[in-house]
């Protein structure tokens, strides 16, 4: 559209030129007027363009439509042809009637006897066509064909169960709030607005500037610039009059500076029906944009605009997640638990779900595995050449490796080791890789060595390395790792990698020993111990565990690796270039990794462990390849070591940090959880339901009468819950959402039922009026079905837990119908078995106010799903039960007896005798149910 307008625009522009030149500078106001008229004409021009564009669109559409309708026509004629071939078999009656009518019509016209004969034929089919000419209306001679009656459904609105429907309450009004829906098919969360009116309002308030408006603004801008220029030229034309010139220039300058004058703005605003300020803002924006576009042609400042969101920190991005996401319901904007819940972080770190040693298949073309393989093969050959650097370490390093192999190989910690080694290998690889990448993809490590000497010189001059112990530590680390990796290049991956890790650990200590006396002593200790094999390993283990309470693996690594450390000092000079390489690589990495990517990476490591395949695939898809992630992982890790190494300079304990932060931290967690598990297994043998929880809970279970349901709020205890634990004070059990470790005594431990299916009070969960939770109970599970149409198969196995109906929403299908009783009632769509769960009634433990059951009353006006419409009966076929489901109290309605499809559901509201409406009273016992409660008012049914 804009392009079309340009010729006319230039035509318009000629006017002001003349005006400006003829009137002279002092009549700038006249110029303004002129401009306004020009704007007017532009307006007209725009609408004309609009008409043209519509015409074009219509024409284009028409062309398309012609093809479409022709195709449709072809289809319809095809149908005729297809039919006429068939018609030999059976003429369909419509065609026959059609023909008859036509015949008759012709017959009438020709007044022939033809019509009679044809009608006699037709009588077999009972009815004949009737002609309704304009003058001879013959009515109802065609015998109507009856359509047998079909019973209609009771009126209803198509209603789809959504969690938010279930829990929405009046006071949680959604007007003016953003809502998040879940797309059931895609599982995506979508933000929508419920009421359309809202949207309209929004739109009217903040209408986007349309293309056409922008177009006008641009034109006006051009106009201004033009005026400015013409004024300037005028000024110079009148150069005989100096004063005039000054004035002219000043006017034009103000125009230029201020941009559009108020009058112009006003008129524009009027024509756009907006406020002038809005127009002004937009105008400024446009001008800026224009300049930016111009700039973009020269430079490349596009990225700035483009990736502004990527620069956002992940934490910032996750902020809304933290605030809005309910970890218990796994939805955003949870109506049940509310927004901004306290963040509870579990005291126990979850072991990452995925073990790297299970997967050996590359995840894709950029998988680090395939890249590594490639590099390894090249490196093996290159290592033959030998490098002066390598020589220092090999002897000791080789020994280490072998010893390391021996020690760790037979032990049962294979998994731990492999994990560790994995990370270590990544360390080593990374560094070599970093140097590789600098020199270009084609080269391998040897090339970096060649290039390195040059760098040495540089570094040597500045002499940074020796002065700065930190630096040195880094060098050593990097260098050692590199060397290590090289010499073992041919070796089995696992073992050599672990060696690399050892070096990494030790290095921070080793260096300090030279410069820092304090640390050296500690080093000595370590250095002595490693000298020989296994017996000594215990020593550091004790040491470590005292200090850190840590896994023995890590410590063993350290001691073994100590000896080479001393030797590393000698090499420090050579190593500095490696350091430089590393640093450079880091720089590059840091540059190319955006803040959000880094954040995602960190989360990824938390979730998936050190598995670059999974991290890349799941979190950084499309941003980074597996290989890049792998590199970054190693790089950041070596950083960690370095930093920790700094700490080691001053404090011996520093290295504990290394361990904690680094991979070994992971080991520790895993080990511990396994330890726990083992304990659990033993325990299981003598497990009775009584041991399911702390005895207070047991007490509560056994004498559960009159215990109001308390609302559970997860506690944030970091250690086993003590007296101050919020849960304990509140009188609830700790649940899986609590921060406390699993061993917490206040936890409900779930059941271990295997075959009972948790359907009787044998099951501790059942007895405690809780639903089983697969996260907590040992044997409770359900199968997922065969996957056809996404519908889970019904009860495939006999041993599935039957106590998770609310959790799994395994409810019977219900239909809301007009009740025989009052207003609305319920009937079943299919027969229900006794005690089969019908429906969840309600969420939150406002059930602390649950009714006659527990002395409180449910207000179904506010809460509940459609089953809340089920009616009261003194002789009900259902009963309600409050059940704890994943920390929330819910009310389930269960069948008491066998209920047939179509039968209305009733349950006992448990009216207080004096409040029950007359119809709700049992005929014989009208008033001997329970003690009378506190005086209250309101509807009998739901308010007490």
């Amino acid at each position: 559209m804009a392009s079309k307008g340009s010729p006319s625009a230039s035509a318009n522009r000629s006017d002001p030129l003349q005006d400006a030149s003829t009137t002279g500078p002092q009549e700038a106001s006249a110029l303004l007027k002129e401009i306004l008229t020009v704007i007017d004409s532009i307006k007209k021009q725009v609408s004309a363009n609009r008409a043209v564009s519509i015409k074009d669109k219509m024409e284009e559409n028409r062309q398309k439509l012609v093809g479409v309708t022709n195709h449709m026509y072809k289809l319809s004629t095809d149908r005729r042809i297809g039919r006429t071939n068939d018609t030999d078999r059976s003429v369909d009656l419509l065609t026959k009637r059609q023909k008859d009518a036509l015949d008759m019509h012709n017959g009438v016209d020709t007044s022939n006897g033809d019509g009679a004969s044809s009608s006699s034929q037709e009588d077999a089919h009972a009815s004949t066509a009737v002609l309704l000419g304009s003058n001879v209306p013959v009515k109802n001679a065609v015998r109507p064909i009856k359509l047998s009656e079909v019973k209609r459904l009771p009126p209803y609105t198509t209603w789809i169960f959504l969690d938010r429907n279930q829990r929405m309450t009046e006071d949680q009004s959604v007007v003016g709030r953003r809502r998040i829906y879940y797309d059931q098919t895609g599982g995506e969360a979508l933000i929508c607005s419920d009421s359309e009116e809202e949207v309209i309002e929004d739109e009217e308030e903040k209408r986007d500037f349309l293309e056409s408006e922008d177009y006008i603004l641009r034109l006006v801008h051009n106009l201004w610039v033009y005026c400015f220029l013409s004024l300037m030229s005028n000024a110079f034309a009148f150069n005989h009059d100096f004063v005039m010139k000054r004035k002219c220039i000043s006017i034009s300058m103000t125009i230029k500076e201020v941009g559009l004058s108020d009058e112009v703005l006003e008129s524009l605003a009027q024509c756009f029906s907006r406020s002038p300020s809005e127009v002004k803002a937009r105008y400024d924006n446009l001008i800026k944009e224009e300049k930016a576009v111009e700039g973009a042609k020269h430079g490349d400042n596009e990225d700035v605009l483009q990736n502004s969101f990527l620069d956002k920190d992940l934490d910032a991005a996750l902020d809304s997640f933290d605030n809005l996401f309910c970890r218990r319901c796994l939805v955003f904007d949870c109506r049940l638990h509310g927004c901004s819940q306290d963040l509870v972080f579990p005291a126990e770190k979850q072991p990452s779900l995925f073990h790297t040693d299970e997967e050996t298949i590359p995840c894709g073309p950029h998988c680090y595995r395939s890249v590594l393989k490639l590099q390894k093969s090249t490196r093996v050959s290159s290592s033959m050449n030998g490098d002066f650097e390598e020589k220092s370490a090999p002897s000791s390093g080789g020994a280490q490796i072998s010893s390391r192999k021996k020690s760790s190989g037979p032990s049962a910690r294979k998994r731990v080791k492999s994990c560790q080694s994995e990370s270590a290998s990544s360390n080593a690889k990374n560094i070599s890789e970093s140097s590789d990448s600098e020199n270009g993809p084609g080269h391998d490590t040897t090339s970096t060595h060649q290039s390195s000497p040059r760098k040495i010189k540089l570094a040597g001059k500045s002499g940074i390395s020796k002065r700065n112990s930190k630096r040195v530590a880094e060098h050593v680390l990097a260098c050692m790792q590199k060397r290590q990796k090289k010499m073992v290049a041919s070796d089995d991956c696992d073992s050599f990698v672990s060696g690399g890790l050892c070096l990494g650990d030790m290095k921070p200590k080793s260096h300090p020993c030279k410069e820092n006396e304090d640390t050296s002593t500690s080093l000595h200790k370590n250095a002595k111990s490693p000298a020989s094999g296994r017996s000594r390993r215990k020593e550091p283990l004790v040491q470590d565990s005292q200090k850190l309470g840590q896994a023995p693996d890590g410590s063993s690594n350290e001691m073994i690796t100590d000896p080479p450390a001393t030797s590393s000092d000698d090499n420090s000079r050579k190593e500095e270039f490696v350091d430089e390489n590393v640093c450079k690589q880091e720089l590059i990495d840091n540059k190319s990794w955006k803040a959000i990517e880094k954040g995602l990476f960190e989360k990824g490591v938390q979730i998936f462990g050190r598995n670059s395949c999974l991290v890349a695939r799941n979190l950084l898809n499309g941003m980074k390849t597996c290989w890049e992630v792998f590199q970054y992982m190693n790089c950041s890790e070596s950083n960690l070591f370095c930093q920790a190494g700094d700490g080691a300079n001053s404090l011996v304990e520093g290295y504990s940090k290394v361990d904690l932060i680094g991979t070994i931290g992971n080991n520790e967690v895993r080990r511990r959880s396994r330890f726990l598990r083992r304990r659990g297994r033993v325990r299981r043998l003598k497990y009775t339901w009584k041991s399911a929880a702390y005895h207070s809970i047991r007490k509560r279970i056994t004498e559960r009468k009159d215990q109001p349901c308390r609302q559970y709020n997860p506690c944030g205890c970091k250690t086993a819950c003590g007296k101050q634990c919020a849960c304990l004070l509140n009188g609830t059990c700790c649940e899986k959402y609590c921060g406390c470790p699993k061993s917490c005594k206040n936890r409900f431990r779930g059941c271990h039922c295997a075959k009972s299916q948790c359907r009787s009070r044998q099951c501790p969960c059942f007895a405690a009026d809780r639903e089983c939770d697969p996260d907590v109970c040992r044997n409770c599970w359900v199968s997922c079905g065969d996957g056809t149409f996404g519908v889970p198969s019904q009860r495939g196995d006999n041993y599935e837990c039957r106590n998770m109906k609310l959790l799994l929403k395994q409810q019977q299908r219900l239909m809301l119908v007009m009740s025989s009783h009052i207003l609305l009632g319920f009937s079943l769509l299919s027969d229900a078995q006794t005690a089969s769960h019908l429906k969840v009634l309600l969420g939150r433990s406002d059930v602390s106010g649950w009714g006659a059951f527990l002395k409180f009353v449910l207000d179904a006006y506010r809460k509940g799903d459609k089953l809340k419409f089920a009616n009261h009966s003194p002789d009900p076929n259902c009963y309600a039960k409050v059940i704890m489901v994943a920390g929330d109290h819910r009310v389930g309605i269960f069948a008491k007896e066998r209920i047939c499809a179509g039968e209305e559901l009733f349950y006992d509201y448990r009216y207080e005798p004096d409040r029950a409406p007359a119809w709700a009273r049992k005929p014989e016992t009208s008033g001997s149910k329970k003690e009378d409660g506190a005086p209250s008012s309101g509807r009998a049914k739901k308010l007490a």
């Binding site: 559409n61 439509l65 009656l93 059609q98 019509h105 309704l132 000419g133 065609v142």
Partner: protein, 370 residues
């Protein structure tokens, strides 16, 4: 939506008839006392291009247009339930080409009538309230879609009797759905509109496997895994009142509310954010005295013209695809006084039928320009 930003104003057609084509009444018949709500030509099968069906009360009637303004009654069907009031009818056909009539109304039951054997083929029970419109997929005429007061739109396979998809739920209509239409070429798209003043475009692309499966389903229809389509791909609020009729015009949309006009607009979807988008209103076709709801317009086979009745029994025939729109003719007759609920244009637009609230059917034929 009276305010238009400069540069986005629609082109409004002029109400001065162009006299391009002249129509005159050639027949008028009284079908009964009950109002007629729908009349529709058979565009599915070229054999029956001159056959049309009307519904009113509990009756479905099939007629044929003959030369000289003669109308022949071919078939008549009466629902045994006297209270039934059919609101809509559509032609469809079985996969073997048997012509079907699909009618629905107050009871919410869809009647699939096999016009070839003059028997009821199937009755679809499922809608929870009255059915306001039924349309047939032109490319696969055994698929029909129905719009209902129960706020849902349902896609049915009349061959197997399966309810394939239900377009309702979180993103669905919030009040009665009044009209629905299949996209002429994009088989996945439908549009629906209703009393919540919105027009929603739905895509069943992701669910197409279910549509295909419905043709080969041999089990009970009730066992079919009917899917909910909860989110439309586009929601437009073009009107500020009930939207009671909408039709695709190629990729554009014709829709009408009770504002005395038909609006042609272009849905502009945003790929990144499904469900959102804007409507660019291109043209307007004024229709005076058309301010009650449930008045529907109809187009000829090639979408060259649309005819719409009004509250006072007049018919406006608009040339749809010209810009600015041209009023082809304004049809009025002294005796035609009651509201015209729906019109039907024949294949080439030479015949226009209107069915009125007083139970009359009017036939208008184009006068040959000689």
């Amino acid at each position: 939506m009276s305010k238009f930003v400069i540069g986005s104003e629609p082109v409004v057609g002029s109400l001065i008839p162009s006299k391009k084509r002249d129509y005159r009444v050639t027949n008028r018949l009284q079908e009964g006392k009950r109002p007629l709500y729908a009349v529709v030509f058979n565009f599915v099968d070229s054999r029956y291009f001159n056959v049309f069906a009307t519904v009113g009360g509990n009756r479905v009637t099939v007629y044929q247009c003959l030369e000289g303004g003669v109308i022949a009654v071919l078939q008549s069907y009466v629902d045994e339930d006297k209270d039934e009031s059919f609101y809509t009818v559509s032609w469809a056909c079985n996969i073997d080409g048997t012509p079907f009539i699909v009618a629905g109304g107050l009871n919410g039951i869809m009647r699939i009538i096999d016009a070839g054997s003059e028997k009821i083929h199937k009755s679809f029970v499922g809608h929870g309230d009255s059915i306001n419109e039924i349309r047939t997929q032109p490319l696969k005429p055994s698929l029909v879609v129905s719009a209902s007061k129960d706020e849902s739109v349902r896609l049915w396979n009349i061959h197997t009797g399966i309810c394939i998809l239900i377009f309702a739920g979180a993103g669905g209509h919030r009040n009665e759905v009044l009209s629905v239409d299949f996209h002429p070429s994009d088989i996945y798209r439908i549009v629906s509109c209703g009393m919540d003043n919105t027009v929603k475009i739905w895509s069943m692309k992701e669910f197409w496997t279910y549509v295909e499966k419905s043709f080969t389903w041999t089990d009970l229809p009730s066992k079919f895994p009917t899917k909910y389509v909860q989110f439309p791909v586009f929601i437009a609020t073009v009107h500020s009142n009930y939207v009671d009729c909408n039709r695709w015009l190629g990729d554009f949309m014709l829709s009408k509310s009770v504002d005395n006009e038909i609006v042609l607009w272009e849905p502009k979807t945003k790929d990144q954010s499904p469900g959102e988008g804007s409507a660019d209103i291109l043209q307007k076709y004024p229709v005076p005295e058309c301010d009650i709801w449930f008045i529907k317009f109809s187009c000829d086979f090639h979408y060259n013209a649309a005819a719409i009745g009004n509250r006072e029994g007049k018919i406006f025939v608009w040339e749809l695809q010209s810009s600015p729109p041209v009023l082809i003719a304004k049809l009025s007759h002294v005796q035609s006084k009651s509201p015209i609920r729906q019109t039907a244009m024949s294949f080439d637009g030479s015949t226009i039928l209107s069915c009125c609230e007083d139970g009359t059917i009017w036939r208008w034929d184009a006068v040959e320009a000689s």
